[in-house]
Symmetry: C2
Subunit: 436 residues, 2 copies
């Protein structure tokens, strides 16, 4: 029977990895997961498809335009576009089954129909943690979050990174003190400083109708630099008589004090008054994280404090604080930039190559090795020995065990270190020793 | 600002777990993954959305009716309904980048718009392994697959389960020897034996136009019982002069011989001539796995050998053998049936409860514990001590450390075993000893 061949390809904007890259990706994901779990965050796994009325309860422009609709029967369904909306729905729905403060982590795929461009993905992993309080949530939680970021990125292999911290109450309070009541647009503009530069920020602020003299004051304010303690000192010296500002400054002071206690080195966190975070649900502490040697990547981990997680699904007031790592984009940038290398990855520790007639001996050895928790494959096909070695080489398997007449007769195994080329014929207990 | 409350709920036929259940589910998934990796299977992660022309290249009734379409822009897209079609597409697309035999595992969600009924899910996890050969694949691989099943289900905590094995060539060859050339429908009917009973099978075979005398011979054939060796002996004694039958019998004999070598106990596998597997792409060995104490669950792990994985995407001949575990359904059945219990699950090993004024001392202790790889949470909220203990209790956290004036002054920690109630005040090195 002849069949029509369909060209095998995937949709643009979707990531698919080779086995070697996938091993590396999974390793990163495992590292993140382990760190999240180590701090007491509980796993969650929500459906990728939800009712559109639930996902879009908040409404609003950009999100709705990017959404993937799902069609089957009559229900209006969509693919989730982040992990925060499903969390809000989950907490509201399972409120009575959860213990608060509820700490959850969620690592999963989300979907956004963004314009097709390099390094932007339409299906991507987010790795989120959030701490949700029932009615209230202590500010100390805002100090613990950076310690999770620190621990995670250190375990991912980075040393030089900075968790930038700010508090939106400080910004809003300061703007209020200037007589700017609705500070949302000002915040959004200030947040673009890194991207569009100081002159464009000034221009945009002027377009919002803010008088020049106030713009100068804003510029002066966000130019405050120094160590964490120096910035806090400067902010105190401003003597701004605004309750929101004062609350924000108190919070930031406490967060900085406790971050130290949570064992985050002074080098790895910094107050930055220009960090505002565009998303309008943040109400207090905000975070962005930068790899100091690769600033072009932008923030690799962002988040903040919000007053009311699930307002669209329940009347319960559920304040929280959380962060998100955009894992797919991060992985793409790290590999594209040559910052991490995907070569030499193997989960399998040893390939057993049997000489003709010694498959039985090889299989028995594999069972012994696996029982000792050594990841083992037997080369089961008939092939020339060179081809078998080549296979181990291509899959980066670090050790090869060859067994034939001599080995079987002496109850021994010839083990070769594929990197050094070193080779020896030894008993099983020595093999186990060698591979552990 | 008042907002409209949308009722928080998910779509019918979708599974969502409480934290405690999720921990158990993840543990099962990790166990399966570890076993797959231990046998040298490589990870893969393909997009959940694919082009409809790719997913539906094979065409055919049931699948197309169950598919979820995805709408965004003009491309005809769908959600994957299994992990085999994406594998076929992946192997065809990345053919030159892969090393054969290519062993891959894939654990991921798939979507089928099935009729809504208890225990059937529209979004569910499959956990698959496949070994793909380039042009050919040795029959020994068919013997290794049961050893992966055995190792996996044993690690999942089961002892009494049977991997039932058959070979479709034996069935087809036998039917051919009776003059039944197209055995597909006969195979499908025989496969329903367990479900519909012997009388209905006879009736259906008669409806297919098979003469009574041949039906009796078929019934006699599939009634062959005995130990694995006895069944093989019986099959040999039939002296059926049909090449397909002979090939099948040779294969089955070899598979049984090698399964033993792969260390699968004789109790855990059995030839069963009634196993045919409905799916029409299987061409040789077929597997179904049953938990002996819970036969009502049906097969928990099925699969088989196929001749040509990617015929719709490439002209390369890619034979393979694989299995699939329907994890979501399995988990549902195991928990619903009370076979596994979701209580007492905690990833967090210890909750540190600070007395008023001793948060600093608590936080410092948490850093020490996490550095020793002990999963630790500090209770950061202000609350009465009973509420804090209650929190540990609800989350099944096995140990609580209380710190206050006395502990801080003596550089000690009061640790309580939440199960036994045992409590002692000790130094950190003793705490570490106790928690490891």
């Amino acid at each position: 029977m002849s069949v029509n061949i369909v060209k095998p390809s995937i949709l643009p904007g979707f990531m698919e990895l080779t086995p070697s890259d996938q091993i590396l990706f999974n390793k990163m994901m495992d590292t993140i997961r382990k760190n999240y779990e180590k701090f007491g965050f509980l796993p969650i796994d929500t459906p990728l498809i939800e009712k559109s009325e639930v996902l879009l309860a908040k409404g609003g422009g950009e999100t709705e335009k990017q959404i993937y609709k799902v069609v089957k029967g009559d229900t209006d369904m969509s693919l989730r576009f982040d992990l925060t909306v499903p969390l809000a729905r989950y907490v509201a729905q399972h409120y009575s089954e959860l213990s608060f403060p509820y700490r959850r982590y969620h690592i999963g795929k989300v979907y956004r129909g963004e314009r097709n461009q390099k390094g932007r993905f339409r299906e991507f992993y987010q790795a989120d943690i959030d701490i949700i309080g029932n009615g209230s949530l202590d500010i100390i939680n805002d100090a613990e979050i950076p310690s999770v970021i620190y621990s995670t990125f250190r375990d991912l292999g980075f040393d030089s990174f900075t968790i930038k911290i700010n508090n939106r109450k400080i910004l809003s309070g300061f703007f209020n003190s200037l007589g700017i009541e609705d500070s949302t647009y000002v915040l959004r503009t200030v947040d673009k400083l890194e991207k569009i530069g100081i002159e464009n920020v000034k221009k945009e602020l002027a377009e919002l109708g803010i008088p020049l003299e106030k713009i100068e004051k804003i510029m002066e304010f966000i130019s405050i630099r120094g160590s964490n303690d120096e910035i806090i000192k400067e902010l105190n010296k401003l003597n701004i008589e605004n309750e929101l500002f004062k609350t924000g400054l108190d919070e930031l002071t406490k967060v900085v004090e406790y971050i130290r206690l949570f064992d985050v080195p002074e080098n790895n966190f910094a107050i930055d008054l220009t960090i505002a975070r565009g998303l309008d649900y943040y109400t207090g502490t905000v975070y962005e994280t930068f790899l100091n040697d690769y600033p072009e990547i932008g923030s690799v981990c962002s988040g903040g404090r919000y007053d009311d997680l699930a307002r669209y699904y329940t009347k319960q007031k559920l304040p929280g604080v959380g962060i998100s790592i955009g894992l797919t984009r991060l992985f793409y940038q790290l590999t594209e930039g040559g910052i991490i290398k995907s070569t030499d990855n193997s989960l399998t520790q040893v390939l057993i190559i049997p000489m003709e007639g010694y498959l039985d001996y090889a299989i028995k050895a594999s069972s012994v090795l696996r029982k000792a928790d050594i990841y083992t494959q037997v080369y089961l096909e008939e092939a020339k020995i060179a081809k078998k070695f080549n296979y181990a080489d291509k899959l980066n398997i670090p050790y090869v065990i060859v067994v034939g007449k001599e080995e079987a007769e002496n109850n021994k195994y010839t083990i070769k270190n594929m990197k050094t080329g070193e080779q020896k014929t030894i008993f099983m207990d020595e093999v186990l020793e060698c591979l552990k």
